[in-house]
């Protein structure tokens, strides 16, 4: 029994411990401790492994998946330069500067993107334009100038004469995600070696040899910081910086630093140096441009030098590398002298590290700082960008537009857009100055307006400003607002009356309409339209009725034509909003958007062919494939002759009607226009077109209230200023009568055909076969359509007269 181990009792144990059996106890304690430490180590190791696995998963997800969200970029339509063009009017030099071209003073071989002035000559080294279907090679061209005109364009060195030259489209904005990051992706192969060298020289000179962490650099940084007594130098490698930007917050804690180190090691273990370098070049932050964060060397090259990264020189590369450390604090725009100093330091480093030769160093040091002009933010085009996005929404979600880096070539004419924005802003400000009651303290309740301009034949939107200030309200009053049209709707009534129909049109341009009191029965009671001047004018020529915008005459004509027919005309011409079949529709009680009105009037300007409103030309993906190509559509919806007659009527409105003020500024050339002022002056409109442009200006408050002024004082001056500045005051082209339109002299007092002896006459247009049947002096008043019996009687009379004469 004595040999069996006895179950230790509490007492026994105590006795033993007191009894001095220390060694086994110590061993046991050590065992327990080792076990605890081992277990803890195991758990910690396991947890750390889990932590590393988790980090590794994050690294792989980011690197193997979509590394960058690249906003799709939108470009304007290209500017076309040609002999005969007024280069001052189109602001040629301003356009070159906005495109990042730089003026040089020396002759000889010009670098791409440079221009040189000499007496009567402008030489430009035009950059190549990369587009899958319409690439443009680089051109060395010289513009021979005479006064404000381009006399000829020659391509150097051969001196070949060019008929037209296209400038590359201007970037006008991009679709950013919530982070508002802008970047242009670059491939390592297309980045010049000296740019990589400059960055490595400053940021990580042992990048090629370390494994994600550089102990020497860390030690050096610690030493430098200790000496300085503050954090003066960072010890992060390029890989660590990339990891920090990709995954981590900028906080400076030990935990984050450890995480950064582990992830940097993981990145280096999984991916090769080239991939890491490429990711870094595309990720690195280069400062703010307005509300947008600029990332990557591709975008930075555009921003600072107006060129692609591939075209950067040594000095430019050194400057970019110098900016990385503190992009906003060390912006070369803020302090150019210090920027040059820092650039030269980078060049010294590059030379010391054997990355550039002594000669290259000296050359680069001598280069002056040449930065691209600071281009304004796309602010004034942002309403257009929204319209474009809405047009593309059926095929491309906002997620796609914000991440897939598409290149969207738009129809926007950058110059027209700028002029429209200025005209609207200054026009409204001037009104507020003149009529203080129009002012509002709250910018959200301020007087608003919009302007949209289309190329009528193609429906291309060349300018659109949807409000006074996009940053205050993004609601686009041109395409999203629906407002009463007032008198700008009236032409649809006249067109419906002039259109051919079996038995002849309801009216011709020689017809008279009755502007006397009218009462129309409606389900909601009798409707009695009145004129703006509260007078009735009796029988008035059709032209005068529209030129003076008489309500009663128009309402009566609409009754003759039939409201359904008026609706049909308006719909055919491009009004897509609902139009209620009520008598007051004729006077513009329907609510439609200014863009619809622009499209409908564009149909007139293009001779009865309705255009599709288009904001995009084509879309190209990152791989350079065309995803979508617009098509020009020409759909005839109105007889060309009728369209011309309507244009002729509206020319009268612009020349001596309610829109005659358009000529006040000296605008010359063909203009057709219509003013519109709604009840209580809630909405002021001016719709006008030339043979090549249709533009709509609308003014009003978002919550309708009276402006107390007619459109001739509100919207008209803005339209006039826009077209004046765009064309230089000389409008090109003419409205020509199409086949099937005849001219004849009529007696303006009666509308009858004027023959010899008629005391007054003026020339008038008619659709073939619709000449007045009565003559002056023998004829009477030519009213609306003649009854067949009446027509026969007149014909009989004419034949009788002819027989007598013969």
């Amino acid at each position: 029994v004595s040999g069996l181990p006895r179950k230790p009792t509490r007492k026994t144990a105590k006795t033993r411990s007191r009894g001095g059996a220390g060694r086994p106890r110590l061993r046991r304690w050590l065992k327990t401790a080792a076990l605890a430490v081992g277990s803890a180590g195991f758990v910690a190791g396991f947890a750390f492994a889990g932590y590393v696995v988790r980090l590794d998963r994050s690294v792989r997800e980011r690197f193997d998946g979509e590394r960058f969200r690249v906003p799709s970029r939108v470009y304007s339509a290209p500017s076309i330069l040609y002999p005969g063009l007024d280069w001052k009017l189109v602001d040629l030099e301003g356009t070159l500067l906005r495109l990042g071209y730089r003026k040089v003073a020396t002759t000889g071989e010009l670098e791409s993107g440079r221009y040189l002035w000499s007496p009567s000559r402008l030489r430009v080294q035009l950059r190549a334009f990369d587009h899958p279907s319409r690439p443009e090679p680089p051109h060395d061209v010289v513009f021979v100038l005479r006064g404000s005109q381009i006399e000829e364009i020659r391509e150097l060195p051969a001196g070949r004469e060019l008929g037209a030259v296209l400038l590359e489209p201007e970037p006008i904005g991009a679709y950013y995600g919530p982070d508002r990051e802008q970047r242009e992706l670059v491939w390592l192969e297309e980045v010049p070696r000296h740019l990589v060298d400059a960055i490595l020289a400053v940021e990580d000179q042992r990048f090629e040899s370390h494994h994600g962490i550089d102990p020497r650099r860390i030690a050096g940084a610690m030493l430098a910081n200790l000496r300085a007594g503050r954090v003066a130098q960072g010890g992060s490698t390029l890989t660590q910086q990339l990891v920090k930007n990709f995954f981590l917050t900028p906080e400076r804690t030990v935990r984050r630093k450890v995480q950064e180190g582990v992830m940097a090691l993981l990145v280096e273990a999984r991916y090769d140096k080239r991939e890491i370098l490429q990711a870094y070049l595309n990720e690195i932050y280069f400062g703010q441009r307005g509300a947008t964060a600029v990332h990557g060397v591709g975008e930075a090259s555009r921003l600072y030098f107006g060129k692609t990264a591939a075209n950067l020189g040594v000095a430019e590369s050194a400057l970019l590398a110098a900016i990385i450390q503190s992009p906003n604090g060390k912006s070369p725009y803020r302090d150019p002298e210090r920027a040059v100093e820092r650039r030269n330091l980078v060049l010294e480093l590059m030379h010391r590290q054997g990355r550039i030769s002594e000669a290259a160093l000296q050359r680069a040091r001598q280069e002056p700082l040449r930065l691209a002009a600071v281009t304004p933010d796309s602010g004034d085009a942002r309403y257009f960008l929204d319209l474009l996005q809405r047009q593309l929404a059926s095929s491309y979600s906002s997620e796609v537009l914000e991440t897939e880096g598409l290149r969207i070539y738009s129809t926007l004419d950058r110059r027209a857009q700028r002029i429209a924005a200025d005209a609207l802003r200054e026009g409204i400000e001037s009104l507020e100055k003149r009529y203080s009651r129009l002012r509002s303290e709250d910018p959200r309740r301020a007087l608003q307006g919009c302007i949209v301009a289309l190329r009528p034949q193609t429906g291309e939107v060349i300018a659109l400003v949807g409000g006074r200030d996009y940053s205050v309200t993004q609601f686009d009053r041109c395409s999203q607002a629906r407002r009463q049209t007032g008198s700008v709707f009236k032409p649809f009534v006249y067109i419906a009356a002039l259109e051919p129909r079996p038995g002849g049109p309801i009216a011709t341009l020689a017809s008279f309409v009755d502007d006397s009191p009218l009462e129309v029965r409606t389900p909601s009671g009798p409707w009695r339209p009145v004129n703006f001047d509260h007078k009735f004018h009796g029988p008035v020529p059709l032209r005068e009725a529209l030129e003076r915008s008489y309500n009663t005459a128009t309402a009566r004509l609409a009754q003759d034509v039939g409201i359904e027919r008026v609706i049909d005309v308006a719909k055919r011409m491009g009004i897509s909003s609902d139009l209620p079949a009520v008598p007051s529709l004729a006077l513009g009680t329907a609510i439609v958007s200014p863009l619809e009105v622009a499209r409908a009037y564009a149909t007139l300007a293009s001779g009865g062919v309705r255009p599709e409103v288009q904001a995009a030309e084509d879309l190209v993906n990152e791989e350079g494939e065309i995803l979508q190509r617009r098509r020009l559509r020409f759909e005839r919806v109105l007889d060309a002759g009728t369209a011309f007659l309507a244009t002729s009527l509206l020319q009268g409105v612009a020349d001596h009607g309610t829109a005659a003020g358009l000529r006040a500024g000296g605008l010359r050339g063909p203009i057709a226009a219509k003013t519109g002022t709604t009840t209580s002056e809630h909405d002021l409109w001016l719709v006008g077109y030339t043979p090549e442009l249709v533009a709509v200006v609308w003014l009003g408050y978002d919550e309708p209230r009276s402006l107390g002024i007619p459109s001739s004082q509100g919207a008209l001056p803005i339209w006039r200023r826009f077209v004046q500045d765009l064309t230089g005051g000389e409008i090109r082209g003419s409205f020509r009568p199409p086949p099937g339109v005849e001219t004849a002299d009529i007696d303006p007092r009666s509308g009858a055909l004027a023959s010899w002896g008629c005391p007054e006459r003026r020339s008038e247009y008619f659709l073939a076969g619709t000449l007045p049947v009565l003559t002056c002096p023998a004829g009477g008043v030519a009213g609306t359509r003649r009854e067949p019996a009446e027509r026969e009687e007149v014909e009989r009379g004419f034949l009788e007269w002819l027989r007598r004469q013969l």
Binding site: I80, G163, P738
Partner: protein, 172 residues
């Protein structure tokens, strides 16, 4: 004025004008043979903008001739951007669409070209419009109408339309 024999004089004058017009044949009647229309012939007409637009049309025709259809179409669109009332641009675009067998688009562009040519002096345009319309109508299945149109084109400009097609080079 009342004693003056206005009526008989008017009638006589009209008859005289009519007979002299018939005798002199001042304008070619529709369908008469005329020189084939070429864009390069119009290069000296119009203002600077029209000339530049025509140059772009010519560039497009050159691209079409060399099989670079997308670039050609782009040139025509640029020509229209510059001068949206240039009938030659729409005609060249219509020819391009006929080549690509996009019949409806060709017909739409032809409508535009025809409308714009109507107010310009371009006697040879008729043949090309008729011929291209014929080709497009043939493509859309209207064989009889197409034949009539192509016959008309051949009658007016046999040197171009004898083979029933208009090449980019022939329009250049």
């Amino acid at each position: 004025v009342s004693g003056f024999p206005v009526g008989p004089l008017l009638v006589l004058a009209s008859l005289a004008a009519l007979s002299s017009g018939c005798a002199l044949r001042l304008a070619p009647p529709p369908g008469a043979r005329v020189a084939s229309l070429r864009v390069s012939d119009a290069l000296l007409e119009g203002d600077a903008t029209r000339r530049a637009s025509l140059r772009l049309v010519l560039q497009g025709l050159g691209e079409d001739e060399n099989g670079r259809a997308p670039a050609a179409r782009s040139s025509y669109e640029r020509a229209i951007q510059l001068d949206p009332n240039n009938p030659y641009a729409y005609l060249a675009l219509a020819r391009h669409e006929v080549d690509a067998e996009r019949w409806r688009r060709a017909l739409e562009a032809l409508d535009q070209a025809e409308l714009l040519f109507a107010s310009e002096s371009a006697p040879g345009a008729d043949a090309h419009i008729a011929g291209l319309r014929g080709a497009a109508r043939f493509g859309t299945g209207y064989g009889d109408e197409a034949e009539l149109l192509l016959d008309r084109a051949t009658r007016i400009a046999p040197e171009v339309w004898a083979d029933g097609r208009l090449s980019a080079d022939e329009l250049r």
